[in-house]
Amino acid sequence: MDKVMRLSSEKGVVIFSKSSCCLSYAVQVLFLDLGVSPKIHEIDKDPECREMEKALMRLGCSKPVPAVFIGGKLVGSTNEVMSMHLSSSLVPLVKPYIC
């Protein structure tokens, strides 16, 4: 859990994903399209993968990946990110992190 919390604040936009997860890739593409380059953590390549998965689930994610953190706060998974973007509330949130 600590690792997750630490990693999630490493950068403005942090995405926890798995190398095989294509929806995580879709979320990544979306942020890139908005001008943000998120930090990607492929937890399946991390030795503590199981613990991280459990931690992410405990934080409220229905699925461990993709888990999106903006400004260190959990925003949610693909559904939440897409909903926010369509309701125009995603861009204001990532504005400070646009390069």
Binding site: S20, C21, C22, L23, Y25, V29, M82
Partner: protein, 373 residues
């Protein structure tokens, strides 16, 4: 294919004693021609012709007897013999008729049964016809019954959709209160959301089926994107509400306010971005799936691990179908938020009719192709 009616033409009264021998040969011929069995075709074609010429002996009343008496007086022996022969022939004819009718009945029941099976098979037909990979073991009954159920439910969904569109059209042409209109709009929205729920359940049963779009008409299938219409397509349809000046001529026209126009533009952009992102995710899924299938040495004939790995990847396809529907859901929701009730009603009518036109295009095209050149 029309079923034959069980209403037999009541036998007409006419003398049989001179035509009886002809009848017997008719029956014999009929039996021979059909190889002793009655096929559906032979049920339909000869029925009326054959039965018309049949009659029961008891249907003959006084006139017949009168003629009998007339001929008896002149050549009693000959007449007696002829009458006996006729009676015998008539009896045989009746027996044959009975047998024929019984065969007709059996065949008719068989025909009804076959038609029912055909209907059922036709419903599954699009589903089964597409499954070139099935064998007796691979084709689970649960899958097919779940998908057949979905197809039937979808049929009802389309009917209800058409009804709602007609209602919207009628109501918007006249005077309608905002309250009533809001109800219609809410129902239309709920109806779409219901479809997404149905699709989600069906995708769990067979995601390839949903992806194939076999439950839609051909033109709709042409424009498909991950198991349904493109969310951006939805916004193109309501474009006309926003940017066409001729709309001023419509009754109760309420133009979009500047803020609304801005919101719609923003929605269109974010919708396109979301769609692109999910499309790229799908491409990646296709690549990784293909890689899984092709992994290892191709040609050695053993590939169970590759199939196992590919199966795991395939689970992700269900998530994609759900995500695509989520985008459709959210786009509809946002459109509903941005527009006024009246504008939303017109937008939903436009969207509904757009799909109706696609379905009409599909049937027109199909009919055109069937015409002989």
């Amino acid at each position: 294919m029309n079923t034959t009616s069980t209403h037999f033409v009541p036998p007409r009264r006419f003398e049989i004693y001179e035509t009886t021998l002809n009848q017997v040969s008719m029956w014999e011929e009929s039996f021979k021609n059909n190889g002793g069995i009655f096929t559906p075709n032979s049920i339909i074609i000869p029925t009326d012709a054959k039965l018309d010429s049949l009659s029961e002996d008891t249907s003959h009343g006084t006139p017949h007897k009168f003629d009998q008496e007339a001929s008896t007086s002149r050549h009693p022996d000959k007449t007696q013999r002829r009458l006996a022969q006729n009676r015998e022939a008539a009896r045989k004819s009746r027996l044959r008729k009975k047998a024929y009718v019984q065969q007709l009945e059996t065949s008719r029941l068989k025909l009804i049964h076959l038609e029912q099976e055909l209907d059922r098979a036709r419903q599954q037909g699009f589903y089964e016809g597409n499954r070139v990979d099935t064998n007796a073991l691979g084709f689970s009954d649960k899958m097919s019954s779940g998908i057949v159920a979905f197809e039937m439910e979808y049929g009802h969904w389309v009917e209800e959709q058409n009804r709602q569109i007609s209602e919207l059209r009628t109501v918007l042409q006249g005077q309608v209160s905002d309250v009533e209109l809001r109800l219609l709009v809410d129902n239309a929205m709920k109806h779409y959301f219901q479809l997404f729920r149905m699709k989600s359940a069906a995708a769990k049963i067979d995601v390839f089926y949903i992806m194939s779009g076999m439950w839609k008409t051909s033109a709709e299938r042409f424009f498909m994107w991950i198991g349904g219409f493109r969310p951006s397509e939805l916004l193109k349809v309501i474009d006309k509400l926003v940017f066409h000046p001729w709309l001023v001529l419509l009754p109760h026209f309420d133009p979009l306010m500047d803020q609304q126009v801005l919101d719609v533009c923003n929605l269109r952009q974010s919708c396109q971005q979301a769609e692109d992102a999910v499309s790229q995710g799908m491409e990646k899924l296709q690549h990784t799936l293909a890689d899984s299938v092709a992994a290892g040495n191709l040609g050695e004939g053993s590939y169970i691990p590759q199939i196992t790995c590919a199966m795991e990847r395939l689970e992700a396809l269900v998530s994609f179908v759900n995500q695509a529907d989520h985008l459709r859901h959210e786009t509809l929701q946002q459109m509903h938020r941005i527009l006024t009730t009246r504008q939303a009603a017109r937008g939903l009518l436009a969207l509904g009719e757009y799909f109706q036109r696609l379905r009409a295009l599909s049937s027109s095209w199909a009919t055109r192709q069937r015409e002989p050149t």
